[in-house]
């Protein structure tokens, strides 16, 4: 997957610059509700249930203040990528026990023609391993800054 293809998965409609939730379940709810309002998701409870089940398998909070809630659901017609920033941090049960400030949510249908779900997830995980990039992402205020940042990486 090229960087342009990765950037194209995200959109201003699915960017939350100031997530208000303080706990894991409320953060998932706020992100899913945002996607419902954007018209990307209809059956909110199905998606929320899937994401919570995925977290019960092992936290998607990989440490250093970043989490990647993800999974597959019949309730999504095509791959969705949502980006959210929390200024205060969310108690997410991350593997390092630290609060999470940056969320990349990926939800894919059970079967994808172009199979972009895992490559996109892998590329973003790789991207945030760089301390400087991660700090810049955590300071995002506008969606355009995200695009510029990724285009420059």
């Amino acid at each position: 997957m090229t960087r342009e293809e990765l950037i194209s998965l995200f959109s201003p409609d699915l960017f939350i610059p100031n997530l208000k939730a303080k706990t894991r379940d409320k953060a998932l709810m706020e992100m899913v509700d945002h996607a419902v309002e954007a018209g990307v998701i209809r059956d909110r409870e199905v998606i929320l249930g899937m994401l919570k089940n995925r977290e019960s398998l092992g936290s998607t909070g990989l440490g250093s203040g970043v989490a990647f809630p993800h999974g597959r659901s019949l309730a999504i017609p095509k791959l969705m990528a949502l980006l959210a920033v929390s200024k205060k941090g969310v108690d997410y049960g991350a593997i390092d026990g630290q609060p999470v400030n940056l969320f990349f949510m990926f939800i894919a249908p059970p079967v994808e023609k172009d199979n972009r779900y895992l490559p996109a997830l892998g590329q973003v995980v790789e991207l945030i391993r760089d301390d400087a990039t991660r700090e810049k992402l955590m300071a995002l205020k506008k969606f355009d800054e995200f695009k510029v940042l990724l285009e420059g990486e």
Binding site: R42, D43, E45, V46, G49, M50, N53, R54, S56, L57, G58, S59, T60, L62, G63, F68, G71, R72, S73, L74, A75, I76, P77, I95, P109, P110, V111, L118, L121, G122, V125
Partner: protein, 120 residues
Amino acid sequence: MPTMSEHLLQLVALQDLDDMIRETKDQVHSNKLAEMGFEMEGMEDLQAARDELAGGIDKVLLSRYERTVKRLGRAVVPVTGNICLGCFAVIPTAYTSSENQDKILHCENCGRILYWPRGS
């Protein structure tokens, strides 16, 4: 008592959970996620969630779901552009009429339960 559309959403959630369990057991998939740093040690919790969800589903529907899974792999499939994505047969437009809104509908061709992710 749940409505038919709530019954359908229970089956969709069950299908999601079964897909997650199947994917987690798949070594290639699990290895890819492990390489990214994701730990997946809660299979027992996932199985417990599956049992709880299945326990709340109407027995006749659950039995039909299980039989279809055994026969075809997936019991619930999305419909996109009037096409059943289980077998690619065309779904009659009459299926989406208001009188069908409180029914669980099956593909006439493959027998899978139909789900419209974006509504009808």
